[in-house]
């Protein structure tokens, strides 16, 4: 079976600077893959290219055995997306939005509505279902986005900082749901700055810095010895205690 994600020599240049520089990556099916990197490393650009939101300058992207952009419709039907920026339509209620997304994935209206209601209950937004999304907090918006990504039972999830702004209870729920999805054969590709979360959830990790993959492997390989993922990460991206140079601080 083809890998969930297979990327070769992916490149994206902005104003002469490579945001993603000849990136190659393979994500096996059924894995929980953490894609890490410092701010501006190229994580979001990569994920946006994987979702087809921005075109790559060069390289190939295959998701679930389908090639982007040629077979984008086949891919879109099979992926669930939680992007960094909201793709929620503010002037719909949570219930209406989820029903709308379900219908976009070819669910019958009644089925879409039923699933939407169940997902809202699951994400503890049942009481807010008649409220416009514009009135939701950041955490609530993330929950709705997560619910929307689940409504059609995708095979592959692409998530950019899915736990950002979500409270501990919500984050715990989301993690449990994602782990359950992986147990049922789905693949998850997520970016996160919270390394503890990645360390606990992911079985595979890649670290990107300045557009290039600097380290990749299973979580066990990453944490050889007593090193934590944070220590590996800091070492790989070359972070230093720059603040010590500022005498006034």
């Amino acid at each position: 079976m083809s890998p969930a994600i297979e990327v070769h020599d992916l490149r994206k240049v902005y104003e002469g600077r490579a945001a993603v520089d000849d990136l190659s990556l393979t994500v096996p099916r059924g894995s929980f893959f953490g894609f890490l990197g410092p701010n501006g490393a190229g994580k979001s650009t990569t994920i946006r290219m994987l979702t087809g939101l921005i075109p790559a300058d060069s390289g190939t992207i295959d998701l679930l055995g389908f090639r982007l952009p040629e077979q984008d419709m086949e891919i879109k039907k099979r992926i669930g997306l939680v992007p960094d920026e909201s793709l929620l339509f503010d002037r719909l209620t949570g219930l209406e939005f989820l029903e709308f997304v379900g219908r976009m994935y070819a669910l019958e209206r009644t089925q879409a509505r039923r699933r939407a209601q169940e997902l809202l209950e699951l994400f503890e937004l049942g009481d807010e279902r008649r409220k416009l999304i514009a009135g939701y907090s950041k955490g609530m918006r993330k929950r709705v986005a997560m619910a929307a990504s689940l409504i059609h039972r995708p095979e592959l999830f692409l998530m950019d900082e899915p736990f950002e702004g979500v409270d501990a209870v919500g984050a715990r729920l989301m993690k449990d749901i994602l782990l359950d999805q992986v147990r049922h054969g789905a693949t998850i590709f997520l970016t996160s700055h919270v390394l503890e979360v990645v360390e606990r959830l992911c079985d595979h990790v890649a670290i990107i810095n300045k557009g290039k993959i600097v380290r990749e492997g299973s979580m066990a390989e990453m944490r050889s010895g007593t090193e934590t993922l944070e220590e590996v990460f800091v070492r790989e991206v070359g972070a230093e205690r720059a603040f010590e140079r500022l005498e006034w601080l």
């Binding site: 979702t51 075109p55 793709l87 339509f89 503010d90 997304v101 976009m104 070819a106 008649r130």
Partner: protein, 539 residues
């Protein structure tokens, strides 16, 4: 500190304009030259009038009246045109330790951006008065006139700053917003209503508020060097009052929480009855189309109906044309042509008004959520068609409202006139929506749903619209020309049918091109739609 704010704004605007093409900037400059050329011409005309006036009584009446007109335009035009110019985004600045007085000064100075054309006009009037040999003092009067002109500008800036803050807050209140706009429209069409009611011009002249105790009267009298003591007291007192009003409004705005006001608006939408009523209206497409088109249309209808900015423009599109042309038709001042084409003009006017918040910038209200259209498994053709169907739904509703109101007015009407209005609007709509599909993907701009005073499109789009509307309405114009030449309704409607066919072809071609362009330009479109203002928000 003020320098830092303005620099941050300049940097924000620079990053905005870096994406725009040079050709767009050139067209923009040409249109700007036309616009300001028009006002320069007006200023020159006024300069000549006031320079050559010999009757001091006439000057004492008409100079204050001219200044009153300037003041009305300065204060009302930005509101009616729903473009209040630039202002400080206090939410972004309040976290910094900037003295409020400094912020207030910037806010007042930014009012200059709302009505540059009035500075030109005031300059023309002042120069005319300076050149007038009848005005006492000769060259000695020049400093006095300059000082008075400056004071008059300061007065207007202060009032405009206060009004802007007041309007911004009031327009967030759903119940007040629509009423206020109708009132403002009524004020702007007051001269026409006076003409329609056949008021004696002499009587109007007699009641013109030109006395020295009015602020504009005081400014006029001071410019002319008459009743200078009373005029000075009135003008300075007016400025003091305007400052107090403006400062007071600014202080309230500093404490104002738009999120809280929004919450109240959103809470209204939670009402079960309101939603079910809305639901019924929005579910109509589901009976006519299959998913995903039905779902897209439904989403568009729901979203737009709940968008304050859209509701406001939609209400204006139904009423504005009626308010402008009804007095002319009733008084007969518009002639037979206005009377014969009244319904058509009002309907097409409404169609054009809806453009900037609907079909000309179809993704504006989606903002960053527009990325959903590129990530959901639905063809972009369907997305655009869905948006077009929703636009057609609102255009038809607008027509029905206008026709229903027109039917109760004492004006000439017949089934043929109604049919003409409907057919012409729909045919024009096909052309405009075809252009709109292209402009939506080539000139997208994020629109704030709450910010009812924000302009509808990017500068490039506004420039394109100037050329686009006449072209789009040309086929219909040709049909009218043929009717005039051949004096035949049959020829007219036959040509309209041809225009409709051509429009359908054009629509089809434009649809294909816009889908292609959207896919190629998706990154740029999404970047444009995700942009936000700097510390100064542009109205």
């Amino acid at each position: 500190m003020i320098g830092a704010i303005l620099r941050a704004q300049w940097l924000s605007m620079r990053s905005f304009s870096m994406g725009s093409k040079r050709s767009g900037m050139v067209v923009s400059a040409i249109v700007g030259a036309f616009f300001y050329g028009f006002w320069l011409l007006g200023a020159w005309g006024l300069e000549e009038i006031f320079a050559s006036a010999e009757d001091s009584v006439w000057l004492a009446v008409w100079l204050p009246v001219a200044l009153l007109a300037v003041m009305l335009y300065w204060q009302i035009a930005p509101v009616v045109s729903a473009s209040l110019g630039a202002s400080l985004d206090l939410k972004k600045l309040l976290v910094y330790p900037i003295p409020h007085e400094k912020l207030f000064q910037v806010e007042v100075l930014l009012r200059l951006t709302a009505c540059v054309e009035m500075l030109i006009i005031v300059g023309g009037i002042a120069t005319g008065v300076m050149r007038n040999s009848e005005v006492g003092g000769g060259i000695v009067a020049v400093p006095r006139i300059l000082v008075v002109t400056l004071l008059f500008i300061i007065l207007n800036l202060l009032i405009a700053a206060g009004l802007r803050n007041l309007m911004e807050r009031m327009l967030l209140k759903r119940s007040l917003r629509e009423v206020m706009v109708v009132l403002l429209i009524l004020v702007s069409v007051l001269p026409q209503l006076l003409i329609a009611s056949k008021v004696n011009p002499d009587a109007v002249t007699h009641y013109l508020p030109a006395a020295v105790y009015w602020p504009w009267g005081a400014a006029g009298h001071l410019m002319l060097g008459i009743e200078w003591l009373a005029a000075t007291v009135v003008l300075l007192a007016s400025i003091a009052l305007a400052y107090a009003f403006s400062r007071w409004q600014f202080a309230i705005s500093l404490r104002f929480d738009p999120a809280s006001a929004n919450r109240r608006v959103l809470a209204l939408d939670e009402s079960q009855d309101r939603l079910s009523l809305l639901d019924r209206a929005c579910r109509v497409p589901a009976f006519l189309f299959a998913d995903p088109l039905a779902a897209i249309v439904e989403k568009e209808l729901r979203s737009l109906l709940r968008t304050p900015r859209f509701r406001l423009v939609f209400g204006m599109s139904c009423l504005f044309g009626l308010l402008i042309w009804t007095p002319r038709v009733l008084s007969g001042s518009g002639g037979k042509a206005t009377s014969d084409h009244f319904l058509t003009m009002v309907c097409v006017y409404g169609l054009v008004m809806l453009g900037q918040v609907m079909y000309m910038n179809a993704f504006g209200f989606d903002r960053s959520a527009a990325q959903a259209w590129f990530s959901l498994p639905v063809s972009f053709t369907r997305v655009i068609v869905g948006k077009n169907v929703a636009a057609a739904w609102f255009v038809i509703t607008e027509m029905l409202v206008v026709v229903a109101i027109a039917l109760v007015l004492p004006i000439r009407k017949s089934p043929v006139l109604v049919a003409e209005a409907v057919v012409v609007t729909l045919v024009s709509g096909v052309y405009l929506i075809a252009f709109g599909n292209l402009s939506s993907v080539y000139f997208p701009r994020a629109l704030s749903p709450e910010k009812v005073t924000q302009g509808g499109g990017s500068r490039s789009l506004n420039v394109i619209l100037v050329f686009c509307f006449p072209i789009a309405l040309l086929p219909v114009g040709l049909a009218y020309w043929a009717r005039y030449v051949f004096s035949s309704d049959v020829v007219f409607f036959a040509l309209l049918a041809v225009a409709a066919l051509l429009g359908a072809v054009l629509y089809w071609i434009a649809l294909g091109s816009s889908v292609e362009a959207a896919l190629v330009r998706r990154e740029r479109i999404l970047n444009e739609l995700a942009k936000s203002d700097g510390p100064v928000s542009i109205g």
